[in-house]
Structures are given as C-alpha cells and as structure tokens.
Symmetry: C2
Subunit: 412 residues, 2 copies
C-alpha cells in the first residue's frame, strides 16, 4: 500500500510554486530540447512536437521533482541524509541530486531489480539496500528508515514539491515560441506527478490546450479510476511501460487527475512497442515504454487535435527490451522472415538452397536442416531459415527464385 504523504484534501497546484521550483532547480537540471517530429507529422498530417525529457540528466524527468524537494529542505537533507524507494528513474534522480549536493542518500530497491539499475544508482554514490520482493515492501522499508534513522523521505510523486518540480516542464513548454499554437499535450500517467504538474501550469497559462493522460492497458488502474471517478485497483500484467505500472492510484493524485486532465487513454503493448520502434528508427531517440505512450496515442489516432506536444518522459529502457522491440518491428515490416524449404534428402540439398539465397543477397540469420520433421516426405529434408531481407518485395523475389529451382517453400 502506498501511504499518502499529502494529508487531507490536496491544495490547488499553484503556478507560483512551480515558478519558484524553476528558479531553484535551474542549475541542476537541463532545459530539454523541444523538437518537431517530422516523420510522424508527415505520416499523420499533424504537427507533432517532442519534449525530450529522455535527454534530461539521469535519463528522465524525475530529477526535476527530486531537485526541488531536496533544495527546498537543504539544511535538513544535509544534516539527516535522504531516503527513497524506487527500482527506476526516481532512484537515479535522488541519488544524482544527493551526490551533486554532497548529501548522503539511501535508496531501497526491490530484490529483483536488474543489476544494471542497481549499478546506475550506485554510480551516484547512493547506499543501495535491496529489500522487498515487490515495490510496496521496499517503500515500507524506506519509510521505516526515515523514522528510525531520521532520513528525509522523498516520495516519488505524491508531494507538492515533487509535483511543482515536474511542473517546470509545463513552464518550459509555455516559454517556447514553438509552443504558441499547440492545441493538445499528451503525457504518460503513472503516479500522476508529471501529468498533473504540467497540466496545472498549462491550465493557467494556456487554458485552451487539451491535456491527455496516457497509460498502458496492462496497468489500467488510473485509467479505470479516472473514467469511473472512483478508486479502482487492477492487477498489473507485463508491460513495456513498467515506469507507469500502478496497481491502485493514490486517492489525492486521482483528484488532481480529474481536475487537470481532459481525458485518459489506455494502449496495448503492440502500440507501445511500435511507438518505441518508430521513435528509434525515425526520431533517432531512445525512449522507454512509459515515455513512448504519447507517441503511441498519436499513431493509434486517438488524439484529434492537429498540433500536439508529446512528452517523452524518459529514456531508461533495458537494452534487451529495446532489442526485442526492434527485432519484432523488422518481422512486422517483413524485413525479417522465416522460410520452410523442402529439399531432396541427398548430399547437396542445402547447398542448392544457400546458392539461391546468396545470389538473392538474402542475409541468413539462423538455419536448421532437419531430416525427420513431421512435415517432410521420406525422401525429403526440411530447411528452416531465418532471413534478413530488404522487405516484402525482396522476400517475394527470394521465394520465387527458390520455387523456380524446384523447391517447395512456405513462409512462416
């Protein structure tokens, strides 16, 4: 269970506190690029702009909130040290700010956290404690450390100073000339600190701009709660957008979402994977699943406005996950295919096939030659080959060339 740090009813998010945050954190954060996404604009007939928090220090927007929180209570933080629970972006953000300010930091991470994330957090000098099988247990342990050791606890989202820090993205957008006629902004929603922080600022400065929150369908609690206007718990399935996977929204954050977000959209894993691949191939940006949600919403045609700003919240995607997504994209585009080729089971059968593949300039990634498959006749062997091709037309040429040499070919 996530405990509420904010007590009672949530106060309105004041733009003045966001402005104060902006001045406070300026030396420690990067004003991230806001750039047009030509490829997807051309493909959709829209005017799409990307706010690249993936290029923020520590690879996500989280450092804005962490910086504002720590700098607002600097004397206490220096005296007592800080503690946070996170397996991801909040961990790196807190550790890096603590290092920059010479503050002792303790980060509690679930025991199953990938070592690369533990390493990235230790790199900033944090004491990492691996406690708890799931995040909620790590969170409890961090709260206990705060109480018993006097560390200053930094909540990942449900804190006015943290929300004000994330809201500085809204100010940067509003200050950009390129933002002037933006009609809508799409933002991934996890705890809600990022989306409501930005939305509160834009409601004040650009009241006509529509704000869309985006979640993964495999972690739909915030989406369901938003539409039902009451708290709903939902189990979390596997999602590429693990950074926004929440079982049950924080009650007060849900209140903010209902006040500040115009609509909430939920997307499939296929959409999220596709958005990551499009950002990589066409946007030249490495973006994690949660960060790619707004782009996925555009590709699925779920945002009607023409000129839209998409918040790429972070770039901390695991390389194995990115690699899978890219390979899958190649399969879907027909640039990676599997052929089953039946050949006569005599010496030279495989050679005849590879001869055709070589002359067609098809790149073999993997090949199996099997004699007693259930699909083969007695005098035949089956060759299963994974190929990189130049695309569907090339695949057709390869298949035709094989058929022309008398082989039976099936495309898997």
């Amino acid at each position: 269970m996530i405990r509420l740090v904010l007590g009672g009813r949530m106060p309105k998010i004041q733009i003045e506190t966001v402005r104060e945050a902006q001045a406070r954190i300026a030396p420690y954060i990067r004003r991230t690029p806001f750039i047009p996404f030509d490829f997807l604009s051309l493909a959709t007939g829209k005017e799409l702009w990307l706010k690249c928090e993936s290029l923020q220090r520590t690879g996500s927007f989280k450092i804005r909130g962490a910086a504002n929180f720590i700098l607002s209570q600097l004397a206490q933080a220096k005296k007592c040290g800080v503690v946070a629970a996170s397996a991801g972006n909040h961990a790196q953000a807190v550790a890096s700010m603590a290092k920059a300010l010479g503050i002792r930091s303790t980060i509690v991470m679930p025991t199953i956290t990938p070592p690369i994330k533990v390493q990235n957090t230790r790199r900033w000098g944090a004491d990492v404690e691996l406690v708890g099988d799931v995040y909620d247990d790590s969170f409890e342990h961090a709260m206990t450390l705060a109480k018993t050791k006097g560390f200053l606890f930094i909540h990942p989202f449900a804190d006015p100073l943290v929300i004000a820090g994330q809201g500085t993205i809204g100010l940067e957008l509003a200050e950009s000339n390129d933002f002037s006629d933006i009609e809508a902004v799409a933002i991934g929603v996890g705890g809600g600190g990022l989306s409501t922080g930005i939305a509160a600022v834009l409601h004040e400065l650009h009241p006509k701009v529509k704000i869309y929150g985006v979640v993964a369908r495999n972690a739909p609690s915030a989406w369901k709660s938003f539409h039902k206007k009451s708290l709903v718990s939902e189990p979390v399935s596997f999602t590429l957008a693990e950074g926004v996977a929440v079982k049950r929204p924080n009650e007060q954050m849900l209140g903010y979402m209902q006040e500040y977000l115009d609509d909430m959209i939920a997307l499939s894993e296929e959409s999220i994977a596709n958005a990551i691949a499009v950002l990589t191939e066409q946007g030249k940006l490495v973006v994690e699943g949660a960060g790619a949600l707004p782009v996925a919403a555009i590709i699925e045609g779920l945002i009607p406005e023409k000129k839209v700003a998409l918040i790429l919240s972070g770039g901390n995607i695991d390389i194995p996950a990115l690699s899978h997504v890219l390979q899958r994209g190649l399969v879907e585009q027909g640039r990676m295919v599997r052929l089953m080729i039946s050949v006569s089971d005599r010496p030279g059968g495989l050679n005849a096939v590879t001869d055709v593949l070589a002359s067609q300039r098809a790149n073999i990634m993997q090949i199996f030659h099997q004699r007693s498959s259930i699909h083969t006749k007695m005098d035949e062997a089956e060759i299963e080959v994974d190929l990189e091709t130049r695309g569907p037309d090339h695949t057709k040429e390869i298949t035709a060339a094989l058929t022309g040499r008398g082989f039976r070919v099936k495309c898997d």
Copy 2:
C-alpha cells in the same frame, strides 16, 4: 572516380560565407541540441559535450550544405530542377530541401540501395533513379543527367557552398555559452565537408581549440593520405561507418584537411560498435556509425584534452545493424550467454535443466537439445541454451546451480 567540382587551388574557407549561409538556411534547418554526456564524462573524468546533428531534419547534418547550395542558386534550381547522387544522407537532404522549396529533384542511387532508404528519399517527392552497381557509377549518371537535362548538380561535399553550409555547425558551437572553454572538437571525416567547414570557423573564432578528424580503420584512405601528406587510395572493407567510407580522398578536400585538422584518428569496428551501444544505452541517442566515431575516439582514450565537443553527425543507422550492435554489446557485457549442458539421455533430462533455469530466473532465448553431438557420451545428450541473464554474477549463480544438480556445464 569522383570529379572535382572545385577547379584549381581551393580558396580559403571564409567565415563570412559561413555567416551568410547561416542566415540563409536558418528557416529550413534546426539549431540542434548541444548537451553534456554525463555518463561518459563521469566514466572518463572528462567534460564531454554532444552536438546532436542526429536530431537534425532528415537525420543528419547534410541538409545544411544542401540548403545553402540550393538557396544560393534558387532561381536556377527552380527553373531547372536539381540532381544528386547518394545512397544515404545527402539524398534525403537534397530531396527534403527541394520539396520544401517546390523544386523538382532527381536522386541517383546505386541499385543495391536498401529499399528503406529509397522509400525515405521518395517520401520527400524525389524522382529516384536506381543506376549503377557502385556509388561512382551513380555519380557519373547524375553528372550526365545534369549535362543532358540541365539539372543543377549538387555535390555531396566538394563545393564551397556545401562546405559553408556544414560550417554553420561551427558557428552554432561558437555561439553557445557552453562551448566557451572547450579544448578540442572531434568530427567524423568522409569527403571532408563537415570537418573542414566546422574547423575553418573554429580556427577563426577559437584558434586554440584542437580539431580531430576521425575515420574507420576499414576505410582508411583519408587517414593514410593525411599522415602521408599525399593522396592514397585504399580499398574499403565492411564498416559500420559506411557514411564516411571513401576509397580515395578528393585532392582539394585533402588540402583543406591538412590546413584545418590538427590530427586524424582511425578506429576499429569494435570501437565503433561499442560507441553506438554506449550512445544508445547511456546517451539515449540513436547514432549511425559515422556519427559515433568521435565518441569511439574518446572511449579509446585517443583524445588527451579534457573538455571536448563531439559532433554526432547523423542518426540514420539501419535497424538490423543497430539491433546487431546492441545484442553484441549484451554478449560482451555478459548479459547474454551460451551454455552447453550435458544431461543424461533419458526422459526428463531437459526438464531438469529448465527447472533450474526457471528457479534462477534466467530468460531462455534459444535452446537446442541434441543427442548425437560429437561432444556427448553414449548415454548423454547435450543441451545448448542461449540465455539472457542479469550479468556475469548471475551467470555464475546459474552455472553453480546447474553443477549443483550434477550437470556438466561449459560456457561458450
């Protein structure tokens, strides 16, 4: 053979022409981000900055030169149309500028150009002609089209207007506050337009800044020519930096390189692959091989200065190539391993192995079970399994668990 477009001795590159270019092309190009690379700075004890031309329109710096060339001769370009030969970044740059200005463009590409690059060029409305087995033949055909059809020919580098266009990156650097105490700049070198354009500007404005040119060792002609101070032809082997693979430098461009570059460095494919992987995983940027050369030079410790600007010239890497590089990186980091496991050749052997793998939370990517391998005893079968692990320590744990259950295990 590449014909010289510039006749006789090359005139000095004048900073005024670069300033004129900057004003001329401003509405058509993006002032690209210049951002610190925290991860590699921390790892090397340097202060590294990235100039992200990978985020430039069309994914590379090439549009700067193309824009300056076309805008300088706009009336003729509009009347006659333009032509260029390129399988890569120059093609997209010319096609996109022509589209923006309502000019007819013809791009000659080698017949073996990957369809994705043909598509990307046609997307901008260019007439693409696939002519020539190698680039030089495409180049000849484009020159012929220029003569017979009156198209305005746009050279990819050996032209003062093109060089001045690329030089605008030097002005953007010089105008940035963050550049003020930069000690060195590293730039990939192909034809030489980018490196000499930037270098000429910085020689004038920041004469103390050292300029390093970087090439791939598998395409070493410019590097050898630079150090021998005379033209050397060298065959080109496979390189991830195909964007800068040149068999023989242009004589006059070599003159510029010798005038403007302080040193030239050549790098292995392993270094280039590693730099691409580091930029992806830690920099959150998708960069092509040629664009990653400066980062590779830093990782290899070949640039002694402390505060260094690295020009990421482009982001147009093929996704299959990127995917290979990332997978290879995982293997090198011990996050992807192949184990050979000998089990008794009785029902349940494989199940006993997968039981251990499941309890160790190792992710199976591929598995083979073979009974009559040359390595197996009569009563054994061999299981070859490719695993994703959390790293070398996790691999050791998995191996120990398998050995503990009585299996013989070899790590490949």
